[in-house]
Symmetry: C2
Subunit: 495 residues, 2 copies
């Protein structure tokens, strides 16, 4: 049970003390408190400050020794040199969990011998404390509190984030916390995020252990610069990936990359080939790109796991169909020509100018229920195809509505704006049957629109559960890696 894991307390504290916060707002500690306020944290907050009486309206204390209770968690953002003293105070108070945000430990040349790191580790050991960091950004838990009344416990992330089942452990604070501003990632829900920083005491292997049994985590995301416990990592990853996919960014291998790492978390990066081998052997999905990291997580969190690599491309425009086909084959997917039998079936619903082979180009004249429902169903039912990418789910009404902003058009046009309720209903009627069929036949479908992800029709499709991408490059690339993972998983279970 993840509740029994020592990290559980870091993500579910009933009380938190803060070193370093004030009312000015610019400091990292103040931001941590403000994030708690934003997320509606209802536990006790104890700022510790030598001079201030209150911080953000919370009574401040001169020292941790005078707190009315032993806080479940302590967050420290103070200069490195005074941290050992704070650790001792915390230990004396009986604290068991610390998040050490401060930088200035082993990532600096002058502490290359890790004397400060060594010192705080010794103090922690003496008092039975564990700590995350140093040089990290904090934690996020979207399942804080009682079931049905979940709120977020969030010290790290500026944005309010959708609840989901993707959990991150990251050696970069940015990767754990600041990749959520993109409107294109709106549908990826986060479960937990742990910024582990320099890993002086708690590392990514601990996080993996915790996520392994966490019922709110279905996909795990890692940002790795160095693995301190390689063997444990490999064993744990092997155990996890047959059940929960892991997607990882590993940075290292290039000269400049390694130089960057040395100054970042102080790690000496390993040989990229060794990491590649470890990832491949353990079924970890590797990527170099943050957008791909998020895309893969998004698609996997939605249960997409194709049975094979046979892709059908439905399109209403030749160019995107050709680009998807070309890129898909270059990335190791297959775009098989449909059987004559299936082509004959398709001919009954498609216009005569359509193409039936694969890509299936319906042309612009396509009837909507055929395009959204019948055609995908015939393909899913054929047994010839494992995945569908459907390009061209355009919001024609949005386009028409835009024309209606022009008086000349409004005055003479025989078409008009459609009420929201009608459009909402249309989207539901077009998408729901296909998502039901997708489950029934176990053939995932990804949608691609040329229009903005947040345009009215795109929103309607997404509200009904459609996995929507803007442009066609990203879904092809991420599907290719997900197919690799699906094959890995099949092999594991066939053994």
């Amino acid at each position: 049970m993840s509740k029994d894991h020592f990290l559980h307390g870091f993500l579910n504290p009933k009380s938190v003390a803060f070193y370093g916060a004030n009312n000015k707002g610019g400091s990292l500690a103040s931001i941590q408190i403000m994030n708690l306020i934003k997320s509606g944290y209802n536990g006790n907050i104890y700022p510790i400050h030598p001079k201030l009486d209150t911080v953000m309206g919370f009574k401040a204390y001169k020292s941790i020794s005078v707190l009315p209770e032993v806080p479940d968690l302590v967050v420290i953002v103070l200069p490195a040199k005074i941290v050992p003293g704070i650790f001792r105070e915390c230990g004396e108070k009986g604290v068991k969990r610390i998040i050490l945000i401060s930088g200035g430990f082993r990532e600096l040349i002058k502490d290359r011998k890790n004397t400060l790191t060594e010192e705080i580790n010794q103090i922690s050991l003496k008092y039975g404390m564990r700590f995350i960091g140093p040089n990290c950004l904090g934690v996020f838990n979207n399942y804080f509190g009682e079931k049905d009344q979940y709120r977020a416990f969030n010290t790290a992330i500026w944005e309010n984030i959708k609840r989901g089942t993707f959990s991150i452990a990251s050696q970069s604070g940015t990767l754990s916390s600041h990749i959520w501003f993109d409107p294109d990632n709106l549908d990826l829900g986060l479960s937990k995020s742990l910024s582990v920083g320099n890993e002086a005491n708690i590392d990514i292997v601990d996080c993996l252990e915790y996520y392994k049994d966490d019922t709110h985590t279905s996909v795990i995301g890692l940002y790795i610069e160095e693995l301190k416990r390689g063997k444990q990592f490999l064993n744990l990853a092997r155990e996890i990936t047959p059940h929960k996919p892991i997607v990882a960014i590993y940075v290292g291998g290039s000269e400049a990359g390694n130089r960057a790492l040395q100054s970042h978390t102080g790690s000496l990066a390993g040989n990229a080939m060794i990491y590649d081998a470890v990832f491949k052997e353990s079924g970890i999905i590797k990527t170099e790109y943050v957008t791909e990291f998020l895309d893969i997580a998004f698609v996997l969190c939605n249960g997409v796991l194709p049975k094979g690599r046979r892709l059908a491309i439905i399109t209403n425009s030749g160019g995107p169909g050709a680009m998807i086909a070309n890129n898909a084959e270059n990335k190791g997917l297959r775009v098989p020509e449909l059987s004559e039998k299936l082509q004959e079936e398709l001919k009954e619903v498609l216009p005569h100018t359509a193409s039936f082979k694969n890509p299936i180009d319906c042309t612009f004249d396509m009837n909507l229920p055929y395009f959204y429902i019948d055609l995908p169903k015939m393909i899913m039912n054929s047994g010839e195809i494992d995945i569908i990418i459907q390009y061209g789910v355009v919001g024609f009404q949005d386009v028409m509505d835009d024309y209606l902003n022009y008086e000349r058009i409004t005055q003479y046009a025989e078409f008009k704006h459609q009420p929201d309720a009608i459009m909402d209903n249309l989207a539901k009627q077009l998408i729901s049957p296909t998502l039901t069929n997708s489950k029934k036949y176990s053939v995932p479908i990804l949608y691609v629109s040329p229009m903005c992800y947040t345009s009215p029709w795109s929103k309607r499709l997404r509200n009904n559960g459609a996995l929507l991408f803007k442009y066609w490059d990203r879904p092809v690339n991420c599907l290719s890696k997900i197919c690799d993972y699906a094959e890995f998983k099949q092999k594991k279970f066939l053994k």
Copy 2:
């Protein structure tokens, strides 16, 4: 002069006749007329319709023979089989230019012998007409009318688009017309776009010829499935690329890609290796991705042409710095360690926790004028670096403003919302000197923010001319290809 080229008339007609439009809005011809209305076209519009008296308030004519003048351009969206008859009518009237939107010509199996295509070509030859299409989406010209009063002549694109110097010729209507919805492409301005469809009469080589001398075109974008006049294309591209960059998507090479092409424009795609060789030899920048196509165009339209491959990475966060460094080296850029002399200089302005080698990690504590102005200037002035990517141009005030939405914070915080005028001024003061320095030292700088491209601070940076990207993957990839082009160009001029 591009004005002397026969394509000039297609983009600058004083009158246009339309076959196929009505008032219902859903048809392609109606959309072409509505696009003209949206773009404020002030020439004469003549709908031709057998029954209707008016279309969108314009007097409709039963036949082209009864028009009060010979239209400069005719747009046809009618079934293929009646098109030859329409062509004859147009020829008899004295029409010289036709855009044939209709599909249903050689891309269909039953007309594989091109009898219809052959027929309309013969008619055109007889009457001295030229036509674009069939199976295309129309044209766009953002420089229609008199200088200082430019408007758009647009039959093809649904969105109103920024005026710029990127011009497209495309064998896909989607690539010519429907890639403009992405808020991330807001800063890429379009000059002209030509959807050439099946190229029965006018092809991409004609478009290249036209763009070569067009003063409003600084970067040319192509989408190619097949080159009918390969030798002419190669010669022309060789002539153009030393002066104007060409970025091209070529689709072909994979089995499914070729199948897609056959049904799309009816072309038999060539060998991908031959195309690769032609592109390389002629200095064309090749990409498979529409996002990269747009990124490369955006960066090139802003005059970015690095003198070499030496990249400096300025960051306030280690992870993105490491990812940029790693990806950059993997893509053929260099991320050299800075000289000791330069590192010593940097130490005077950076906090002691910073890293000075490259990536230059300023940490979160960085002072804004140092981060935005002094630091880039010292690097530009050093002569050690050809390009800068600066990560972390975060809108802290946007983050703070978000906290101020929470009563608990507003009540106690010692910081407050800053008026727009102050923030506008701050952005100007931080960005303008650096862009001036960038020109002075000929060292381009690309900015990357983790925040949304359209967030308030991001908008302010962009308004002041910053080339901004969301996430760091895309600028690295596109810079790598632009450096290849810059080297090609240097070699051409050194010969």
